[in-house]
């Protein structure tokens, strides 16, 4: 494999059915109307030089290197800003044009370091162009003012900005605005004094979100990854998939060396990536260093008791211990006494193999997944309404949306690359309705402003969505033909939802959303014409999570917003492979492809292939495993890639359960919190070492390709197979692709999937079947997978968790951009520069009441536990609600969250906990001396 250079045609592709034909240097070229001359020429292999243009940015026309001659046109137009026209005659190779290019290059070089490090590295487009245009020499001399003594800004942990090499082409500024949508960069000064600046401060202190789009866009050495400066240029590329969030961005891992000596130089988002189209966020692009972090545990370890020290053991010994341990427990306590938890971080192949081990080798259905704690209500609710446990659209669909309802999601932090696509669409004129207690960035950020922000109180989502549907039905805004033709139980539902108890006026005191705003939102959503719903864990992690998912399905069906581009019900998945791990049968009641274990014809498929008898009864869910462990009937657990001791709710209950077990096996990269209670530790492989697939939030199956061999000597699926084999159930695959072949052979929605097909197509969205051989971007076109769409009477049942006199505030939780989940990876990278600790956001009036100022250490307590955090007084919060993230184990936000959960799926109610906040240490005033008077506004007014 060599380094992949993706061609840059200079300006974005134009979608137009009408073609035009022009002549460039005597050759006839046909392109869609609206295509630039530059793109047409480059597409035809005619290399017009360019510096300011890039095919992910709108043409800008500033470098003047791409000038050409056009017959009949005045002067020498810039080919990047000149659209092709029928019959146009273009010349790119004349003396005039050559003289011009030479002149421009000479001007560039007159203020460009002659000894630029970028030249030496070959990381610069200028250098190649100087050779191409023959402008090696500068006639102007080097006297007078220049920028050659400017100093570099190295504040960002991942890249530097060295103004010496900057040619002010503006690509970085435009990438920040057009691609990322943050608008952190601008040009300061004008004319010769023009300099790129991150809003007048250094990069780190600026609005920059460190997505790296500017670095990728920069044609010179001015913006360069520190890793490139340190290691030099990469020599080969492996295309793979980000292992952080559910967006599933494709990356080119650019590396040096091979085999065990492989070093990743940088990650560059892949232009052909279906989910990201060449963009990334700070996590995917930069935060891969955890894979080589010294904390990574590389050998298996074991101990008899959790109070003992760990002993390094061989793989053989470890696997024997695990297998014999599980066999003994099963012998003694029955077949149901052991189980496994699979991970949404792992590949489809790994998850499939784990559930197979549990069902075939353990002999029960005690397999569950960490998706339980995030998106299980999505699977349940969408399956109930439409017949498929997955989102209805692809990401590109947002480009056709006119109205977006964003609820319980904070995409700019949690799904940054998709958020950039949303913001692009919003800048183009689509409208957003943001339903969230917090004033998230989508409510208002540069060049984006939501039409409505509905500060829905935590725990009242169902009342909110019912009110939306109520307005749409009672005001006659519903899509009657769609409902009559494509849905069932419509009359009962319509009668139910028209009930006055659902009106915005009746529910406004519950939801906190003024009735007039709610009516405006319902009307806007109904008007569409394309209205799409995007939601996240703020929907699912509630006692009525599944109900809410059905409520949103009702809303989409009522307004006919399904079955085409630009609409739909779209979960934004938290982890990279939540979708995939659910697809792979990692729930106790479902075999791969969401087929219930009670269906004999489904069991039959696997029984005949696997040569075992499968149990027809669902196994234990994660919370039941914990309860049974404390009760004594559940004794042994295999946990892959999830830190249940930190990420599951009510930490003390989980710890008690783990302590109660005889054999806990942790299979992970790091000795995590759960490993404190483990008897055997099996080292895992990072995504850079894996061969397999991840399935993202849009059902897109992406390839994960090994950049380097496993650093622990074994693939994770291989370890699982060896455990099963050691337990007496032989399992083996020659390579990961054979696991996918087995998945394809047994799961109808994956029928057409194989590594070879994925490699050929880039990626595919399931279902991939004979009818849809290239996959299915939009689902439920024409009819629902279940036939008719199911309208459901979604009764609002308030959670029992309510603010009360002792715990008068409601805590809700979320994520921040630079960190990821429990932080096991991101905390082991310089991403912590931005988010060194979890903070508690609190509204100014709640803060004032408690004497809290920003920076104070406060105690956060609920009826189940207490923890300490630093407070941040913020008017992003509504009064009565406090907010924190859960990225750092010391904080342990889940120490306070309760055991409440979704009625249908047991997904924990992370988003609603009644709490109290009290000051422990008064940071700001401690220095001012005890008892010093602090003016009231100083206390209340801090941002």
């Amino acid at each position: 494999m060599t380094l992949i250079h993706e061609p840059d045609l200079g300006t974005p592709a134009v979608a137009n059915d009408h073609d035009v034909t022009l002549t460039i240097d005597g050759r006839a070229v046909t392109v869609p109307e609206g295509t630039s001359v530059l793109r047409a020429a480059r597409g035809a292999g005619i290399d017009i030089p360019k510096l300011c243009a890039s095919d992910n940015l709108a043409a800008y026309g500033s470098c003047r290197l791409c000038l050409v001659e056009v017959e009949g046109a005045k002067g020498t137009p810039a080919s990047c800003t000149t659209p092709c026209a029928d019959g146009m005659v273009v010349r790119t190779d004349t003396d005039t044009v050559h003289a011009l290019r030479h002149g421009v290059m000479e001007l560039y070089l007159s203020d460009h370091p002659q000894d630029c490090a970028g030249c030496a590295r070959g990381n610069c487009e200028i250098q190649a162009l100087a050779v191409q245009t023959g402008a090696a020499e500068v006639r102007y001399g080097r006297g007078g003012a220049s920028h050659l003594d400017d100093t570099a800004d190295t504040s960002n942990p991942y890249f530097t900005y060295d103004p010496k090499a900057c040619i002010v082409c503006n690509r970085c500024v435009r990438a920040c605005g057009e691609v990322q949508g943050t608008f952190a960069l601008t040009v300061q000064g004008r004319g010769f004094d023009s300099r790129i600046t991150a809003g007048g401060t250094d990069f780190l202190s600026s609005e920059c979100v460190s997505c790296g789009a500017c670095v990728q866009a920069c044609p010179t050495d001015a913006l360069t990854e520190k890793s490139v400066i340190q290691l030099g240029m990469p020599s080969r590329t492996v295309v793979t998939t980000c292992a952080y969030c559910g967006v599933g961005c494709s990356f080119k891992a650019e590396v040096q060396g091979s085999g065990d000596d492989t070093r990743v130089v940088r990650m560059v988002p892949w232009k052909d990536g279906g989910a990201n189209e060449g963009h990334s966020c700070v996590k995917g692009r930069f935060a891969y260093g955890y894979a080589s972090h010294r904390d990574r545990q590389l050998s298996p370890m074991a101990r008899d008791s959790i109070d003992d020290e760990w002993q390094v053991v061989t793989w053989e010994e470890a696997i024997t211990r695990v297998a014999e341990g599980f066999l003994a427990l099963r012998e003694k306590h029955g077949v149901g006494s052991i189980g496994g938890i699979s991970s949404s971080r792992c590949t489809n192949e790994e998850v499939y193999v784990v559930q197979k081990m549990v069902r075939a080798a353990f002999g029960n259905n005690n397999i569950d997944t960490c998706a339980r704690v995030c998106h299980s209500p999505t699977g349940y609710g969408l399956n109930h309404a439409f017949g498929t446990s997955a989102g209805t659209q692809d990401f590109a669909s947002v480009e056709q949306a006119d109205v977006m309802l964003v609820i319980g999601a904070n995409p700019t932090d949690a799904h940054p690359v998709f958020a950039s696509r949303m913001k692009k669409r919003l800048r183009a004129g689509a409208k957003a309705i943001v339903a969230d207690p917090r004033r998230i960035d989508l409510v208002r950020s540069p060049h984006v402003e939501a039409a409505l922000h509905l500060p829905v109180r935590p725990g009242t989502n169902v009342a909110f969505v019912n009110a939306m549907c109520h307005v749409i039905v009672t005001e006659g805004l519903w899509d009657e033909p769609f409902v009559r033709e494509r849905c069932e139980d419509a009359d009962a539902y319509l009668a139910f939802i028209a009930g006055p108890e659902h009106s915005p006026e009746a529910t406004q005191d519950v939801t906190g959303i003024p009735a007039s705003d709610l009516r405006a939102a319902a009307r806007l959503f109904a008007a569409g014409p394309n209205s799409a719903i995007y939601y996240g864990l703020g929907v699912t992690e509630h006692s009525q999570g599944s109900t809410m998912v059905m409520g949103m399905a009702n809303l989409a069906m009522l307004t006919g917003n399904l079955g085409r581009e630009g609409v739909g019900v779209n979960p934004l998945r938290g982890q990279n492979n939540v979708q995939g791990s659910c697809d792979m049968g990692s729930f106790p009641h479902e075999l791969p492809g969401y087929r219930h274990v009670s269906r004999p014809e489904v069991r039959e498929i696997y029984e005949s292939l696997w040569g075992v008898t499968l149990q027809a009864e669902p196994g234990l869910r994660i919370p039941n495993m914990f309860d049974s462990a404390i009760g004594g009937s559940f004794r042994g657990l295999y946990v892959q890639g999830e830190d249940i001791a930190q990420s599951d709710p009510n930490t003390s209950h989980v710890e008690a359960a783990l302590r109660a077990m005889d054999l806990v096996v942790v299979h992970d990269l790091f000795l995590n919190e759960t490993a404190r209670f483990a008897h055997v530790f099996l080292p895992g492989a990072s995504f850079l070492e894996k061969d397999g697939t991840f399935t993202n939030a849009e059902r897109r199956i992406n390839r994960v390709r090994p950049v380097m061999p496993s650093r622990v000597g074994k693939d994770e699926w291989q370890v699982v197979c060896e455990i099963a084999t050691a337990m007496g159930y032989p399992m083996s695959y020659a390579e990961a692709s054979h696991i996918m072949d087995e998945i394809a052979a047994t799961t109808p929605t994956f029928a057409g999937v194989s590594f070879a097909r994925l490699d050929a197509e880039g990626s595919m969205q399931w279902p991939v079947t004979q009818a849809a051989p290239h996959g299915t971007p939009t689902m439920h076109v024409g009819s629902f997978v279940r036939g008719l769409g199911q309208l459901t009477e979604t009764v609002y049942v308030p959670t029992t968790e309510r603010a009360n006199r002792r715990f008068p505030l409601v805590l809700t939780t979320g994520r921040i951009l630079s960190q990821y989940n429990v932080g096991a990876q991101t905390r082991r990278t310089p991403n912590s520069t931005w988010h060194p600790e979890d903070v508690l956001e609190i509204h100014p009036s709640d803060a004032e009441l408690r004497g809290v100022t920003s920076g104070d250490v406060v105690e956060l307590s609920s009826r189940v536990g207490t923890t300490r955090l630093t407070a941040l007084v913020s008017d992003r919060m509504p009064a009565g609600v406090v907010y924190t993230t859960f990225h750092h184990p010391v904080t342990g936000a889940n120490v306070v969250t309760t055991e409440n959960s979704d009625w249908a799926t047991n997904c924990p109610e992370y988003k609603v906990t009644a709490v109290q906040v009290e000051v422990v240490t008064q940071a700001a005033r401690a220095n001012a001396g005890a008892g010093a008077d602090v003016p009231a506004d100083a206390v209340a007014g801090r941002p």
């Binding site: 043409a59 800008y60 026309g61 500033s62 470098c63 003047r64 290197l65 000038l67 005045k74 002067g75 020498t76 810039a78 800003t81 659209p83 011009l100 002149g103 421009v104 001007l107 560039y108 007159s110 203020d111 006639r139 102007y140 006297g143 007078g144 040619i167 002010v168 503006n170 601008t186 040009v187 000064g189 004008r190 004319g191 010769f192 004094d193 023009s194």
Partner: protein, 437 residues
């Protein structure tokens, strides 16, 4: 002998020339009342018929520009008045807005009605705070009198006018940079296409016109296209404000028919300041237009004839320089302006104007070599027609034309090793601090 045609400048001497009352005494707002009874399309047709060409520099036919707007689609359409007047030498819009702002406001109302705009903007040069105050007051008066606002004179036509003050950049007079600036962005020119008529302010159909173009609309409408065409030449109809500055006896604004000559204007202005010093060079349309010399005194000041003679009519900013002036020094000063005002977007202008200034500075001080002259011309060649907008082109005009006419004077600097002129000779007041060599 051509005589003056005071129309927009008619009552500037009135002690209260800027008030609505004075304006209404002088036919003010009669044209608007007439317009509101007409079909918008007829207003556009009449403007086309009059032959009025844009007064902002390029001379684009105004009626035709209005006609480029796509048919209404229910969304907003905008009129933006370019009141950024910053071209060195140009001083017509600012005095007009100071002395008789209601011409502009009535013109805005008529034009908006003609093109279907309900919100017009006046983008004013930021430095002229006094004009800003006057315009704000004039707009207020017009609202109070019902010439602006809702349902103007019972016609059902609504119009709001916003006066916006810029932040002090010459480039913001370029119409697309102006639009970016008005939208709150950094003022830099946009790519065309799309043209403002299709996607202008906030990406909506927009007409951008100069102050004087719009202010000419009320008299034109009131007296008719034939009256207008009765003035000026076939190439450039009507009247225009010619601003004379420099070494003339009576500098100021002279409103005259298009096609008047410099010789006639000089007469009207009382001749040269020092009658014994002949005119050496002058700009027909501001510093961005190639210099003229005494050879060109009889060129009719209309768009076509001036272009034929090798320059541009531009904004009719006639800066007059007598024999005491060093042309290299004058060009160096202008070049400094362009270097300072280059927005920095495109490379030829950003880097080129900087080098032009470096080299000219050297030459003015008698340093450098004859090769520097070629280098200057070479850079100009790299800028002219290659830069993104006309600012870059303009920067080359004084240089190439001065070398064309006064190459010997450049060489003299080199042979003498210094400037052959005493700069204090050329100024009105000798101030050693401001005029150092």
């Amino acid at each position: 002998m051509t005589t003056l045609t005071p129309i927009l400048t008619k009552f500037w001497d009135d002690p209260q020339s800027w008030t609505l009352a004075t304006y209404e005494k002088n036919e003010g707002y009669q044209a608007l009342k007439k317009a509101l009874t007409m079909a918008p399309a007829d207003l556009v047709a009449m403007t086309k018929e009059s032959g009025l060409r844009g007064r902002g520099g390029a001379g684009f036919p105004t009626g035709m520009k209005w006609g480029f707007l796509p048919p209404p689609d229910g969304g907003p359409r905008y009129l933006v008045v370019n009141a950024d007047e910053s071209e060195p030498g140009t001083c017509k819009d600012i005095p007009l807005m100071m002395a008789a702002p209601q011409f502009l406001i009535e013109g805005v109302a008529i034009t908006s009605f003609a093109i279907g705009c309900n919100h017009a903007f006046i983008y004013l040069r930021g430095e002229v705070v006094h004009v800003y105050r006057r315009l704000l007051r004039a707009v207020e008066e017009a609202y109070a009198a019902g010439h602006l606002g809702k349902n103007i004179h019972g016609s059902g036509f609504d119009l709001d006018v916003t006066v916006h003050a810029g932040a002090g950049a010459y480039i913001c007079g370029e119409e697309t940079a102006l639009l970016d600036s008005l939208e709150g962005r950094r003022g830099q020119p946009r790519s065309k296409p799309p043209f403002p008529a299709v996607a202008g302010l906030y990406a909506r159909p927009t007409v951008v016109n100069n102050v004087e173009s719009i202010a000419s609309v009320p008299p034109l409408l009131l007296h008719g296209a034939d009256w207008f065409k009765g003035m000026g030449t076939q190439d450039s109809t009507g009247f225009g404000i010619f601003s004379l500055s420099g070494h003339v006896k009576n500098p100021g604004q002279y409103e005259a028919p298009m096609g008047i000559t410099m010789r006639e204007l000089l007469d009207l202005a009382g001749g040269m300041r020092h009658p014994e010093r002949p005119i050496k060079f002058w700009t027909p349309g501001g510093s961005s237009t190639p210099l003229f010399t005494d050879e060109h005194l009889d060129v009719p000041l209309e768009f076509g004839a001036v272009a034929k003679a090798g320059s541009m009519l531009g904004t009719r900013a006639l800066q007059v320089f007598d024999s005491s002036v060093c042309v290299v020094r004058a060009v160096d000063r202008w070049t400094d302006f362009y270097k300072h005002e280059s927005c920095g977007k495109c490379t030829p202008c950003r880097e080129g104007t900087w080098w032009l200034k470096q080299i000219l500075g050297r030459l003015e001080h008698g340093q450098g070599s004859e090769a520097d002259l070629d280098k200057l011309l070479d850079i100009c060649d790299n800028i002219l027609g290659r830069s993104f907008c006309a600012l870059g082109d303009g920067a080359t005009s004084p240089i190439t034309s001065s070398i064309q006419y006064f190459r010997d004077e450049y060489i003299a600097h080199l042979t003498m090793g210094r400037c052959p002129f005493d700069p204090n000779d050329a100024v009105l007041f000798t101030t050693k601090e401001t005029v150092s060599a």
